[in-house]
Amino acid sequence: MIGAGTMGAGIAASASAANYEVYLVELAAAARERAAAGLTKTLGRLLPDAAGAEAAFGRIRLVDSVAQATSGDIYIEAVPEVLDLKRTVFAELARLAPAGALLATNTSSLAVGEIARPTGRAQSVVGIHFFNPPAVMKLVEVVRAEQSSDESVRRAVEFVERLGKTPVVVRDTPGFVVNRVARPYYLEALRAIDAGAADAECVDAVLEGLGFKMGPCRLMDLIGLDVNLATTRSVYEATHVERLRPSPLQERMVAEGRLGRKSSRGFYDYGA
């Protein structure tokens, strides 16, 4: 695992709980310390048996460079969503990972094919997109890029299944399945509110009344309107279809700093 943020640490915990030996690579010492504390907690939840959790913790080695993890079968990158950063990691993996290794990126918004380019072994590269929190969420999108080999996709699927999760194989397209198909849930709410058809509370009540766990406005407040808008923008900018055009209402709210719970104000007020 390269990157010990929320996603990287969560994926490392899931893998060690499934009996994998894991090297968790993180440059920053502070982040390594945070990750160690997080791993203990996550493994305690995943494996109620204390001895089992301790053994799983023992299967994870926190290291500070890929050079200390050169015998891996599967490499998964989970560094921030910046193309150059991810490419740097993949260039390093191309140098240090064994020839037969599976190389995977946990990107949610970048093209896997673009990330794979500097490796010179794009056939070994796939996307393995976990959802947050990765130790809990069952779905994993296995992303087949144009040059991914069938064998690489098969290995990724098998890995995900061994973690007790459900893989869905998707093509390397903007937003893959979930982040793309979910856009209208937010966009239709925003458009209806912007047209004056209803307020946020009404929209949420109607959709929760249809069985959605959380109405779109409460959900955007939780996710952060800026984060939600960034996802819509990244899908829109890669496709330019009218259906997915970002909402001017959301742009205004983000510009005004109404980001949701984290700024105490979004569609709803959360006190100061």
């Binding site: 969420m137 979930v178 249809l210 779109p216």
Partner: protein, 237 residues
């Protein structure tokens, strides 16, 4: 307690069936109407006439005209405001003051909150009767503005449409898209399975209503048209 008025429900889809069952359960004398002759025969005795046509626009208009012609002056006409706006529905009835638009996507059994929408001419009294009727059926109501598809219809239809476009673009199979959405977002149903349950022709009708008023963003995906048994030529402008 005074006996409840007579309710007639015109239509064939899950929406019509769900409202009819809920009305019977709530103690109304309710009957289903399947054609124009039944409308002419039954609507004059109805306190509440519910229009829940299948998707076809022309037949919806015919049904609303026939119901409007046969309606008593103090009755309530509830028009399905998902495939056409409430203003359009109300105008077709010729009795716009008695007409209230409502939004029920699929079976009412799956919907706790019902949107109500008035036309410019709708009487307050008609709105109150509509609220009381759905309250009697155990539902909350919300007044919303007359925008195509209301909230419930535009959301379910646009989700199904995006899912269908994703399948069309080869992102994943229809089953995988549904599975991913249920597991990845906690939606109560996969968008395409939901469309099938509601009736794909109804989803297409909601999208075409949105497309008429809001433009190309709501063009139904070819896969939805195929599932609904429609040819593409019927909708491209």
């Amino acid at each position: 307690m005074a006996p409840k008025g007579r309710v007639v429900v015109f239509g064939r889809g899950p929406a019509a069936g769900g409202i009819l069952r809920a009305a019977l359960d709530a103690g109304y004398r309710a009957v289903a109407l399947k054609d124009l002759r039944a409308i002419q025969r039954e609507v004059p005795d109805a306190a509440i006439a519910v229009e829940a046509s299948a998707a076809d626009h022309l037949r919806k208009r015919e049904a609303l005209e026939a119901i409007g012609n046969a309606l008593q002056p103090h009755a309530l006409l509830l028009a399905d405001a998902l495939p056409a706006t409430a203003a359009e529905c109300a105008a077709w009835t010729g009795q716009p003051r008695l007409c209230v638009g409502y939004g029920v996507v699929g079976s009412l059994a799956d919907q706790r909150v019902v949107e109500l929408v008035r036309s410019p001419a709708t009487y307050d009294e008609a709105m109150e009767k509509a609220r009381a009727f759905f309250a009697d059926l155990g539902r909350e109501t919300r007044d919303v503005g007359d925008r195509p598809g209301l909230i419930c219809g535009r959301t379910i239809a646009a989700l199904a449409n995006e899912a269908a476009w994703a399948v069309t673009h080869g992102v994943a199979s229809a089953d995988d898209v549904d599975r991913a959405m249920q597991l990845g977002t906690n939606y109560p149903r996969g968008p395409l399975a939901w469309a099938r349950e509601v009736g794909v022709d109804r989803i297409v009708a909601i999208l075409e209503n949105l497309q008429r008023h809001e433009g190309e963003a709501y063009e139904p995906a070819p896969l939805l048209l195929k599932m609904a048994g429609k040819r593409k030529e019927t909708v491209t402008r």
